[in-house]
Amino acid sequence: DASGDFSKNNTCKLTFLVTDWRPSYYLFLYFLLFYSSDKDIIYICPFNAAVKGKVFITNYRLYFKNTDSTPVTLDVPLGVISRVEKMGGASSRGENSYGLEITCKDMRNLRFALKQEGHSRRDIFEIIFKYAFPLSHGMQLFAFLSQEKYEENGWNVYEAMEEYRRQVLPNSEWRVTFINKNYELCDTYPTILVVPYKATDEDLRRVAAFRSRCRIPVLSWFHKENHAVIMRCSQPLVGMSGKRNKDDERYLDLIREANGTTKLTIYDARPNVNAVANKATGGGYEGDDAYQNAELVFLDIHNIHVMRESLKKLKDIVYPNVEESHWLSSLESTHWLEHIKLVLSGAIQVADKVSSGSSVVVHCSDGWDRTAQLTSLAMLMLDSYYRTLRGFQVLLEKEWISFGHKFASRIGHGDKNHADQDRSPIFLQFIDCVWQMTKQFPTAFEFNERLLVVILDHLYSCRFGTFLYNCESARESNNVRGKTVSLWSFVNSDTSLYINPFFTPESSRVLYPVASMRHLELWVTYYIRWNPRILHQQQSPVEQRYKELLALRDQYLKKLEELQLSDSTHLTNSSTPNAATPNQHITHLQTPF
C-alpha cells in the first residue's frame, strides 16, 4: 500500500504516463517528468531479489515499473527520501554492486543497480538529489507546485475561535487575547490565545520574559463540567542561580484559582535529571519554594535524540528482514514501545488529574514536542470530539500545527541534511500512541488505521501544505493556505475510506488505555508494511464480516419496506396484526444506529 491514496487517484494516469510521456501530459497532471531511464535499471528488492525495470522521476515522485516478469512497482514520493548515496565505484566487482542507495523516512531503503557505462548513475543521482531536496537547491517544495483541486477545502477544518467556542470559551474564568496577533508576544504561538480572565496583557508580556522562547502557559483544553484546564507552555527560565519571577508565580496561581483547584499540578515531561541539567542553559523547572500552590511531577519522557535513535534501532530490526531468532528481546532493546508506554502513561496522568477536577500545566523544555504529545493525547482521552474524523483533524491542527511543533525541523522537508540533529520522529510517536489507543478501544474512534497511515505518508510527501514549516507565523508569511492544498481537502473528499465501521459514539466517556507492555504492540501494519511476508489483511475479517452484515441488513430493510408499501396499497385486507410487527421491528432496529 505504498502511499495507497495516491495510487488510487493516480495509478491510471501514471500508467498512462509510463506508456506515453509527451510533455503535455505532465502539465495536465501537474507533474513534470525529469527523468526516464531508457535502459533497464535493476531494483534490488530485498524480498524478491533483483528486478529489472524502468525508472521515471517527476518533480513529485520516483516511479519504478518492472520490465521483467516479477511484478514490482515502486511509487515513492521524493519527499520521503532522506538520503541518496552512490554505492560502488569504478573498481566495483560483482553483480549489482554499482548503483544508488536511497534511504527513506518511512522505514525503508531502496537500492538500484546501474550499468557502469555512460553517465547514467550521475544523471539519476543528480536529479534525485535536486528534486528530493528542493529547499537545499533554492527551489520550492512540491506542495507549492501542485495544482490539485478538491471539493472540500481542508484549510477550513480548523478555526481557532470556533474550536474555543466549542469548548465554551471564553467565559467568566477564561478570556481570548489577541496580544499575539502579529506574533509579537511569541513567534511560535498562534495568534489567538486563551488565558486566565484575570491576567492582563501586560501580565502576559512579563510572564513571557520568564518562559523559554516566550511560550507562556496558555489554555489547551477546558473541562466543561469541573472547569479544570490543561495549560501548555515551555520551561521557566530559572537558570543556575534559581531565578524567580513574581509574575510567573502569580500567573500560575491565577490558573489554579480559576476553578478553585487547591493545588495546581505541573507536569514536566522530562526526566528529573534532564530538567536539572537544563538549568545550566538557563532553563529549569518550577521550584517548590517559588510555586507553593503547585506540585511538580516529572514524567520521565526522553528527548528527541533518544527517540530518533530508538526508531533507528527499530528500523534495523524490521527492515529489510524481520529479526527472527530473538524478535522479542530485539524489540525490547529498541525501547520504542517503552517510550510509547511512558508517553501514554504521562498522558493518562494528565487526563486523570483533569477529570478529577484539578487544573494542570504541561511543559517540557520548549513545549513543542513532548508537551504536544501529552496535551493532545490527554485531550483525546478526555474529549470524544477529538476521536471523530473531523475532531482529530482539529486536534492536530490545534495542538501540533498551530502551537508550533517544528515539523520542518523534525522531518526535514526538502532538506538534504539527513544527519540534522533536529530531526526526530516525535509526531510519528504520537500517531503510534493514537494507534495503540485505537487498538485498545476499537469502537471509540470514528477514524480507522488507514487515516493514520495516510497522515504519516503525507507528513513526508510534501504534496500538501498541512505539515510544512515550523509554526503559524512562517506558514503565514509563505502563504501556505493560499498556495498549497491541505491534506484535509484530500481526506475529506472521500471520507468513506477512513471511517471505522465499529465506531460507537459515547460522549461523556474518558478513555484510559492500559499503558502496560502486555498490551502495547508494535504497529506492524505501519512499520513492517513493506515486507510482503507479514500477513497484511486488506481488511480485518471482523470488519469485512461486519460490512457484509450491514449490507445484508440494509437489503432486508429495503425488502421489508417494499413489502410494506405493497401492503399499504392493498390496505383493504391488511387487518391482520402481522402488518404492525415489521414496522415495530424497523423502528426498534434503527434506534441503536
Binding site: 534532564n274 525501547h335 502513561s345 465499529f502 464480516r545 452484515l549
Partner: protein, 742 residues
C-alpha cells in the same frame, strides 16, 4: 502449643486495612452464627473448614480483603464470603461445577506459605509443623488466591492448611480423584455424543477412513489389548503390514489421516530395541517400506525427538512462562512489565510453539505439495506425534476446524490415541517430574495461533480453547484422566462394580452441559466463522484433484524428498531396498531447512485465501502472539474497560442478531412462498447477544472481579530499564549549539 499466639491475639495487630476490621467481625459474627456451607455437588464431601479467613483482593498492595469461610472438600477448595453475595449473579458465562472462589483440587498448581514475611513453597515437610500466616495458592488456570489464616482459631487454621496441603499436594491414588465419587446425572440430551466421534468403535475408524478415502487396514486384534497395552483399542495401519505380533506393540506405523492425493500421514513409536542392531534396522526398513507402499512408494520420515524439544524442555519452558502471569500484586505486575518481552523470550515458550507449527507446516508441505507419505516418529509416539499430526490435520482439513471436528480430532489423536494425560498433567501429584509435561496445552496454544491468525476459518472461538485448557484440570471428566485406552478400560471396569450397580458415571468433557448452560455454550462459537454451504455435512467436500492420481506408475516415480537435512533423509537401507536413484530437484538450494518451507508459505500466501482450504500460519516474530485471553484474564491491571476485541465482537453480535430478526420477519411474511432468502446457515440458536448495557471488560467472559472504578491504572517503576546511558539523553533538545556538517 504454638508460640504464634491465638487468633484473638493476632487480630489486634493486623497491619492492613480491610473492608471490615476483625473486631467488627467478632461482634458481628457472634449473634447470627449461621454457618455457611458450599452447595455440594452430588458425591462431594466436605473435609474441613475454617472461619474467619481473609481472602485478599488482588487489586493492589493495600492488603484489603473479604472475610469468610474456607472449605476443603474432595472436589475443591472453596471460599464463601461472609458478606452478602453481590448482585452480579446474572453472569452469562458461569461454570456450573465451580465458581470464582472455587479451586478444583486438581487445578492447584503450587501453594506458598508466608512465614514471618518470608514466602516458602509448601512441600510435604513443611506441612507438619507450623502453619503460615498467609497461604497463597497458584492455580493451573493461572488464578492466584491469597488467604490470611491469622484470624481463625489456631486449630481450625492448622487443620484447613494441612487439609488443603494434603489434598492438593500429596501423592494420591487415581481412585481418590473426584471423578470416581462424582455422581452427577448424565445429561439428558446426549447431543455431544451424536456429533463428536469418539473413536472407540471400529465403525468410527471405518467412517474416518471412508471420509478421507484412506486405503489402509483397520486393526481389531487389540480389542482386548493383547497386542499391547500402549496401543489404542482400534487403530489403522498400512495395508502391507503383516504379522502384528512381531512388533511387540512398538514401532507400528499408525495411520492418522489421508490426503486427497492418496498419500497419508502416519505416526509411530520407536521399534523395540533388541540385542542386535540388525533387527532394529530391519524393523525400521519394514516400517518405512510399509508406509511408502501406501502411495507411490514415497515416504519421508521425521524423528520428532531429534528436531523438537523433548517433553522435559517443554515442561521447563512452560514453568518459566506461566510465572509471568501468576501475579500477586500490582508492584510485581509493574516490575515484570519492564522486562516483559525479554522475559517472555527467555522462557522459550513462544519459540516452542513456533517450532511445532513450523514442523507441522513441513509435514503439510510433504503431503500437499510433494504428495509423499509422511511418517513421524518419537520414543512413545504419543506426545509430539499427537501435536504435529493434529496440527497438520487442522491445517489441511477444514472439517477439523469445526467444533465437532476438532473434538473428534482430540478424541482420535489424543484420547483414543493414548496420550498419557494422567502422567503428563500430573493429576496425582507424583513426585517424579520426568513424566510431567503440558503437551496438550502446547497443542492448544498452537491451535490458538491458527485461530488468531485465521479466525474466519474456525467454527470455535478462543473462549472455547481457553475453557478446554481449563477443563483438563477439572476432576470430573474421564477424558483427561487416563494414560491409555487400556488404562481407561481397566480402571473403569474395576470401578464399576464398586459404584453401586450401573456403570461409572464419569462424563466426557465434550458433554459441555455439565459445565455450562446452553447460553454460556454460545461463547464457544466464533461469530466470524464462514460456514461453507455444503450438501452433505459430515463428508468432507472432495477436492478437485490437482494431481492426477496415477497408481500404475512404476517405481521410477519414486519421489525424493525435496529437502535436505530437515526431513531426515531416509536411511541408506531404504535407498538400497527400493533401489532407486535419488534425484535432486533442488539444485543448489540452501541447506537452511526453513528456506523451502518459506517458499511453500509464500506461494500459499500469494494465492487468494480460502478459509475452507489449506491454512498456514505466519511464523515471523511479530506474528506469534500471546494467548491473551488465557493468560491475562485474571490480572486486573490489564483490563481494558469497554475495550479489547470484546467491544468489536459485541457490535458484531448485535448486528448479527438484528439481521436474523429481520430475516425471520421476512421469512414469516414469505412463508407461503417458502422463499428462502439466504441459505447460509447462521447458527440460529447459538446466537448470543451480550448485555451491552454494562460495559464489558477486555477479559470478558472471564472477568469475575467486580467492575473497576473509572480510575486509570498508572504504571509505576517506569524508568527502571530505560537507563539511556549514552550522551543523547542529556543532550539539549535544540541542537542550536551543535554545528552540523553535511
Amino acid at each position: 502449643m504454638l508460640s504464634l499466639g491465638s487468633g484473638g491475639a493476632k487480630s489486634t495487630k493486623p497491619s492492613f486495612v480491610s473492608y471490615v476490621t476483625p473486631e467488627e467481625i467478632k461482634s458481628e459474627k457472634d449473634p447470627p452464627k449461621q454457618e455457611k456451607h458450599p452447595d455440594l455437588l452430588p458425591g462431594e464431601v466436605e473435609f474441613c473448614s475454617a472461619n474467619p479467613i481473609l481472602k485478599y483482593t488482588q487489586d493492589d498492595l493495600s492488603q484489603r480483603g473479604v472475610f469468610g469461610t474456607l472449605f476443603c472438600t474432595n472436589f475443591r477448595v472453596t471460599f464463601i464470603s461472609d458478606e452478602k453475595p453481590q448482585e452480579k449473579t446474572d453472569k452469562t458465562f458461569k461454570n456450573k461445577l465451580y465458581g470464582e472462589n472455587d479451586i478444583p483440587l486438581m487445578c492447584v498448581d503450587h501453594i506458598y506459605g508466608v512465614y514471618d514475611e518470608k514466602r516458602k513453597l509448601i512441600t510435604g515437610g513443611l506441612v507438619k509443623n507450623k502453619y503460615p500466616s498467609k497461604m497463597i495458592i497458584h492455580c493451573k488456570d493461572l488464578r492466584v488466591f491469597q488467604f490470611s489464616l491469622t484470624f481463625s482459631k489456631e486449630e481450625d487454621a492448622k487443620k484447613i492448611f494441612q487439609g488443603i496441603a494434603h489434598h492438593c499436594l500429596e501423592e494420591k491414588s487415581l481412585k481418590c480423584v473426584f471423578a470416581f465419587s462424582y455422581m452427577g446425572t448424565p445429561s439428558p440430551e446426549m447431543q455431544w455424543k451424536q456429533e463428536t466421534v469418539m473413536f472407540d468403535s471400529p465403525e468410527d475408524w471405518t467412517q474416518e477412513m471412508k471420509r478421507t478415502k484412506a486405503n489402509c487396514r483397520l486393526v481389531t486384534e487389540n480389542e482386548n489389548f493383547e497386542l499391547s497395552q500402549r496401543l489404542p483399542k482400534y487403530f489403522v495401519i498400512p495395508l502391507t503390514i503383516g504379522d502384528l505380533f512381531s512388533y511387540q506393540g512398538k514401532g507400528l506405523p499408525i495411520w492418522c489421516w489421508s490426503h486427497y492425493s492418496g498419500c497419508a500421514l502416519f505416526k509411530a513409536s520407536f521399534p523395540p530395541v533388541t540385542q542386535e542392531d540388525g533387527d532394529f534396522q530391519k524393523h525400521l526398513d519394514t516400517m518405512i517400506n510399509a508406509v511408502a507402499h501406501n502411495h507411490l512408494y514415497s515416504v519421508k520420515t521425521e524423528d520428532l525427538s531429534e528436531s523438537l524439544p523433548n517433553i522435559q524442555d517443554i515442561q521447563q519452558s512452560y514453568n518459566k512462562f506461566k510465572q509471568f502471569f501468576l501475579i500477586e500484586n500490582s508492584t510485581d505486575f509493574w516490575l515484570s512489565d519492564v522486562k516483559w518481552f525479554s522475559s517472555l523470550e527467555s522462557s522459550g515458550w513462544l519459540d516452542i510453539i513456533r517450532q511445532c507449527l513450523q514442523k507441522a507446516v513441513e509435514v503439510v508441505e510433504c503431503l500437499e505439495k510433494d504428495n509423499t507419505n509422511v511418517l513421524i516418529t518419537e520414543e512413545e509416539g504419543t506426545d509430539l506425534c499427537c501435536v504435529i499430526s493434529s496440527l497438520a490435520q487442522i491445517m489441511l482439513d477444514p472439517y477439523y476446524r469445526t467444533l465437532m471436528g476438532f473434538q473428534s480430532l482430540v478424541q482420535k489423536e489424543w484420547v483414543a490415541g493414548c496420550h498419557a494425560f494422567l502422567d503428563r498433567c500430573n493429576h496425582l501429584h507424583q513426585k517424579d517430574k520426568e513424566y510431567h509435561s503440558p503437551v496438550f496445552l502446547l497443542f492448544l496454544e498452537c491451535v490458538w495461533q491458527l485461530v488468531h491468525q485465521h479466525s474466519p476459518a474456525f467454527q470455535f472461538s478462543e473462549t472455547y480453547l481457553t475453557v478446554l485448557s481449563d477443563s483438563v484440570h477439572v476432576p470430573v471428566f474421564s477424558t483427561f484422566l487416563f494414560n491409555s485406552s487400556h488404562h481407561r478400560e481397566s480402571v473403569m471396569k474395576a470401578e464399576s462394580p464398586l459404584a453401586q450397580s450401573g456403570p461409572l458415571s464419569c462424563p466426557t468433557v465434550w458433554d459441555w452441559s455439565v459445565q455450562f448452560d446452553s447460553k454460556a455454550q454460545n461463547f464457544f462459537f466464533n461469530p466470524l466463522y464462514l460456514e461453507k454451504v455444503k450438501h452433505d455435512r459430515a463428508v468432507r467436500k472432495p477436492h478437485k484433484p490437482k494431481h492426477q492420481r496415477n497408481l500404475s506408475l512404476p517405481s521410477t516415480a519414486f519421489k525424493t524428498p525435496p529437502k535436505k537435512g530437515f526431513f531426515k533423509d531416509e536411511t541408506d537401507s531404504l535407498k538400497k531396498m527400493l533401489r532407486v536413484k535419488r534425484l535432486s530437484r533442488w539444485r543448489g538450494s540452501p541447506d537452511a531447512p526453513a528456506a523451502t518451507t518459506r517458499e511453500f508459505f509464500e506461494s500459499w500466501q500469494h494465492r487468494p485465501l480460502d478459509y475452507h482450504g489449506l491454512l498456514l500460519p505466519c511464523l515471523d516474530g511479530p506474528a506469534v502472539h500471546i494467548w491473551m485471553q488465557r493468560y491475562l484474564r485474571w490480572i486486573p491491571e490489564v483490563y481494558i474497560l469497554g475495550g479489547g476485541s470484546v467491544a468489536v465482537m459485541t457490535k458484531l453480535m448485535e448486528l448479527l442478531s438484528q439481521v436474523q430478526d429481520l430475516k425471520r420477519v421476512l421469512e414469516q411474511r414469505d412463508s407461503s412462498q417458502a422463499a428462502k432468502l439466504d441459505h447460509r446457515p447462521y447458527f440460529q440458536h447459538r446466537l448470543l447477544s451480550f448485555d451491552s448495557s454494562g460495559r464489558l471488560s477486555s477479559s470478558f467472559p472471564f472477568a469475575y472481579t467486580c467492575y473497576r472504578s473509572f480510575k486509570p491504572i498508572i504504571p509505576t517503576g517506569l524508568m527502571q530499564s530505560l537507563m539511556v546511558t549514552d550522551s543523547l539523553a542529556s543532550q539539549e533538545d535544540e541542537a542550536s549549539s551543535v554545528v552540523s556538517f553535511v
